[in-house]
Each structure stands twice: as C-alpha cells, then as structure tokens.
Amino acid sequence: MNIIRLSENTFLILFEQVIDAENFSRIKTLVGKIKQTMANNLIDIIPSYASIHITFNLSALSGIECQQQLEKLLLSTDSDDDNVQSTDVIEIPVYYGSEVALDLSYLAEKAQVSEREVIEIHSSKVYDVYTIGFAPGFAYLGNVDQRIATARKETPRKKIASGSVGIADQQTAIYPSESPGGWQIIGRTPIQLIDYQRENLSELSAGDRVKFIAIDKEEYIRLGGVLPSEITTNNNTVNNPQGDV
C-alpha cells in the first residue's frame, strides 16, 4: 500500500495491483475509516478494485496534512485484523430469456456449456461490488466463475437497454441506463439501479454483496420489466473511446 499525490487536491491509495476478495476487504475497511476521520474535509471518495481515489477540501486542509492523516489511518488498518462485518446479500432478480439475453447463446457456445448452465453458474455465486463507475450507478461485480468468463465484444453495441446484465472477462455488471457498451449480455433485471429522485440514489455501492436470482418472464413483467420491441438494434456498433465497458 502506498499513498500517491496525484494533483493539488487528490490522492490515490494504491494497494497490491490484483483483483481479489482479500485485497478488497482491506479497501472496504479503509474506506470506512477515511470517511469517518476526514468527514467534511473529504469531498469525494472512489473505492476501486485495488485503489482508493480521494478528493479533499484544499481550503480546509493542506496536502501535507491530508497525507499525514492518510498515513496514520493506513498504519492503524495494517495492525487491524481485517475482520469486516459480513454484509447482507442484496438479491437482484434477472430474466435470462432469449428476448433480452442477446449474447447468451454465443457465450454458452464459447464456454462449451449449455445456456442453462451459464444461467446456473452466473446466478449461484455471491459477488462483491468492487466499484461504481463508467456511468451513474454502474456497478462492477466480481469475480465471475472462470467457466463462463468471456471477453468483451470486439465491437461494442451502440445501444444497450437499461437493466441489461453483462459479462466481461471475470466481471459482471448491470447497465443502469441505456448506453453504448461491449459486454456480453446474458439477461435483464427489472430493478432500477439508479434513480435521482430516490433517497439512496444508487441501488448498489462499493462493498455490497450481490446475488442474481433467475426469474421467469411473467415475474419479470410483474416487476415492471420491459421486453424489446420487434426492431432489434443488435448489429449497430460504435466507437467506445474509453474501451472500458
């Protein structure tokens, strides 16, 4: 772990550059402590897989003071036992039907398993929310079972429907709003992941634990899910400069 000053008012705490649950549980603990200790001097905090990005209030705190506070917190975290309280598992219903699971058959073929197995494997695991980014409420979950881990599409789609559930390598995610994207789409949730009118804004936050529950078409519609109209937008493509999603 080390603390890097990125700019006038930002720091990055870099952890070991690996994606695993143990590393992430350390990040989770430290994020809690930073929020508590820095309180109003913290403008923004972005936890990620292997780092924490911090924007601090330069009018209240100098860079050196902020660095010292962070160093102190790092030391106290090191000596801790990392016994993070287990978080409740948030259940997200997903309809894996072919109308919405645009890439399910491709992914199954590629992974040399049946479509049903893909669904079973995907919905049997409890995932960690590593970070939220790319778009408001877009949660990166991991790790996907190696058997169904599949690379992003070569050419991203221009439009992916809100609620779409995708896989990219060992990550899985839900598109909170309609957007371009290159993940392999295997289902759709009727749940609103982001809602600016709602108090909790984003359904998921970094550190949450998530399990997908397979639902049938009736249940999907009952929960407010929408099916695509006759006109499909499967083949349109777009440049995705960030190459991220």
């Binding site: 700019s7 006038e8 923004d44 990620s48 924007t55 408001p136 600016y196 400069p241």
Partner: protein
Amino acid sequence: MSLHVLKAGFLSLIQDYGRYGYQHIGVTHSGPLDENAFLWSNRLLGNHYNAPQIEVSYGAFSATFLEQTMIAICGADLSATLNEQAISPWRTYAVNTGDTISFKAPVTGLRSYLAVKDGFAVDPQLSSCATVVREKLGGIHQNGAKLSEADMVPYASQPHVLVKHGLVKRVPSQFTSTYPKKITLRFMPNISQTSAGERALKTFIQHSYKVTPNIDRMGYRLSGKVIDTESSGIISQGISLGAIQVPKDGQPIVLMRDRQTMGGYPLLGCVCGLDMGKLAQSLPGTELSFVPISVEEAEAEWIVHKNFFGV
C-alpha cells in the same frame, strides 16, 4: 423574469461550480471547463462563486433578456453582440428588457461564460445545476438537456437605478487571455505503479502535441509523437481532473470536467488545475508543450486562486 433563448447554438449549457460528493456512485464533477473565466464573470457582478451561468461553446447562440439586469461575459471571444453592436469579453454590461445578445463564432478561444447579476435561478439536482447530458442531470429541465430554442432561463430583475447607473467593471488585463495557438501547460508527473513509465514521460515532455478535433467536455484527445507505455492497461482506478491517459495507440488524452469517474489506461500525470481552462479554450490544431512542476508549487498557486475567488 427570464432569458428567452432564440438560438441555442452547438452546445450551450447551464453550469455552476460543479457537482461534488457523488463520485462514489459514478456521478461526474462537471462544472465550467474554463474555471478562471467562469469565476471572473461571477466576481465582476459580485455574485457567489457558485452562481449558475451559461457556458456557450463555439457560438451560434442568441437570446433576449426579458428583464433588465447587469451581465458579464468572460472567456472566449465568440464575436458577441448586444443588439447587433459588437461587445468584448471580460467586462460587464447593463441590459434592458428586450435586448438581444448573440455569440456568433470563435475568434479566440471556444467557450464564453454569460452571467447575470445574482445568477440564473435554476433548481439544483444532487446539489448542483451543472448540466451533464449523458447523465441526464442538471440544466433548467433537470434532465441533463442542453439549452434549446425557446427555452426560458429564469433570473431576477434588478432595480432600474442599479442597471442605469451601475459601474462597468472589467477584468484587469493581466488576468484575461486571448488564447494563443501555441501554449505551455504545466503538469504534475505521475510516478506510481500505474504510471505510463519514465520513458513515456520523457517522450511526452520532449515533444509537443496538437489538439485534435476530437474534444469534448469529457476529454481532449491530442496527437503527436507516439508514447510507448510499459503496460497497455491498469486496473481501473479513480481519475482526477486533468489526468493525462495513454491509451493503446500512444496518443494522450487529457480528462476534463465531465470525465468518467474511473479509467483503466496508464497515466502520465495531471495538468495543473489552473491550466485546465487554457486547454479547454484551445481550438483543434493548437500546439501544446508540457512542463513538469511539483505538486507543492501547484498547490500553493491553487490556494491563492481559491482564496481570491472565495471558492
């Protein structure tokens, strides 16, 4: 009680100082691309630093004032007129009911800031009215829409005596800019494990880079000598304002106010906050040289700037 938009132009947006405290759910900071020009507009009118303004990019914007007030325009020279009379940026003007302001096309710079006394009265969304089209946040309709024809942007009328006898205020010339075609930007090099590496930094400092036509509120793509990085990607991490990323093609991208909160490309460093406005005003083809400075030096300047504007 409103500014009536006649022609909305290419990209005219309501902006305040930005939306802070929501990056953890993926919401960008947004705010004015040229902070210096934005803050001067508010200062000239005695407004709060965060008072909402209109950021007019590229021009082709015109609107009629339906109430008398004082206005300020700062930033780019977009050949602005008031009732078809040429007006220049970096000062205040009194406007009467029925006066029409137009921003035609860029002479120098790209973005002009139009402020009214006490700011435009726009309701905030997630504590800010900064417009982010892709996030559907901010603006007068609170849905991220840019300004469009026939929009009414509310503001409070000012007493006749203030408008008639109000003093014209100007930004001292040493603080204004005419946005030259060749500029130097200072940056704080990144030498962490997620840096693009020493060799990459050397290439970046030794060569100049051109602003490409591929520029928007998220990022400015530059072109020049290809930068070889030690790795093609890093584990996605939070991204600061002004971060300079090197994607696989070796052509750097500087990330602006509407950047995504996360990025996965190796980094060269961060452009100084105070220099970001200069970049935002650069037309495609502008030649950029980058010089490294220490973060302490940048911090000291930033504090002076913040204190001066009361940010």
